[in-house]
Assembly symmetry: C2
Homo-oligomer: 243 residues x 2
Amino acid sequence: MLRQNDPREINPQGNGLLKGIAVDPVIFGFHENQLKVLIIEHTNTGLYALPGGYIQENEDVDEAAERILTMRTGLSDVYLEQFHIFGKYNRTDPEVVKKILIGQGFTPTDDHWSLKRFISVGYYALVDYTKTRLTTDLTTGSCDWYDFDAVPPLIFDHQLIIDKALTTLRHNLDQMLIGFNLLPPIFTMVELHTLYETVLGKKLLPPNFQRKMLSLGILERIEKKKTGKAHKSPYLYRFKPSE
Amino acid sequence: MLRQNDPREINPQGNGLLKGIAVDPVIFGFHENQLKVLIIEHTNTGLYALPGGYIQENEDVDEAAERILTMRTGLSDVYLEQFHIFGKYNRTDPEVVKKILIGQGFTPTDDHWSLKRFISVGYYALVDYTKTRLTTDLTTGSCDWYDFDAVPPLIFDHQLIIDKALTTLRHNLDQMLIGFNLLPPIFTMVELHTLYETVLGKKLLPPNFQRKMLSLGILERIEKKKTGKAHKSPYLYRFKPSE
């Protein structure tokens, strides 16, 4: 893991940052038939959270989400979608924020801007698990993948944000076939099938699934086959390029 | 039209309001086969806009949207959904905000909070056109329905917000059958068909449409028929209550 500075750590006055609003990306990966989610631990606190961050004054909200995603994973140009804002007036807890800042070596006064109400813009990202280069900084003790069903207890409403991201992902996966963002460029029908079953959390009959996928006209069968006995090798597919 | 005070007008210092973030509801109605949208004019400016508003410090973002919707239309308990936040760093224009405040009789200083960057949380609402009681206040010269395709030029990115709301509405209408929010409780198949054609902006073959709707098992045919020659009266339907 690389370490790099995070503006939050060296900027307790919040110069150049928007106050009262932050972004929290839910970064999904897929590996060995498990849906994974990226979780950080705030330095010296034992508090786990989404890998969120502040928005710079001269930065679009979408750009902030992209920047944070790239900072944490080393990836750019990945599927990243804003899906909901979390705006309950009491969703954050000043005592928890205080603990996080103290863990970073900074003791805030009671009227510190970061202790006030914060609205969170929720994004979700789909990344190729194998390509990520996870990065911590001085504010984060760890930055790691967790199996979706084994995420530790999280601060604030971060579990709710994950749950809602998964609901959106399921809906979109069903409707818009964005699943290819979680797969390598070339895959077998079994791999595609497993991805759908895992993310949707339900069994899909293989013949029906295969028929549906092929009928959509979005898959391209590759001539090259996997090594092994030729007549037993599964076909390989890829998604047709757009246009 | 009723007139009532708006906290914005009597509160130029923004006491008790969140700074930097506001809500902008796109309120859709349906009348005489036209999709309508609610637009206000800022007093004494000739500037048209969505009927937006600020968020109070002790109010959830969703509650702010509900409050503003009720204030403008007299309706509560209507379909209201947050669909996107608009976060471009330069989406608002301080000169335009200044003009709006001057139109209300308040001249802001150049560093006034309302001239700074504002993020907008977009909501869309579906209301029964016939039940609304539109309300202006001292900040709004008018508050009126416009045909969707005859909306005047709007400030900032408000036209983009409407366009994105319509895209979402179309998608949801197709997927989640939320159209009943735009219809009276009892309706004919022709009325339902017209609603779908109007909102989706495309022709739908009546037999296919009827077959699809009936096959979903969500409609209930009412025994009572419209007055007129009994054998010519169309059947009336309603949506089955949930559960």
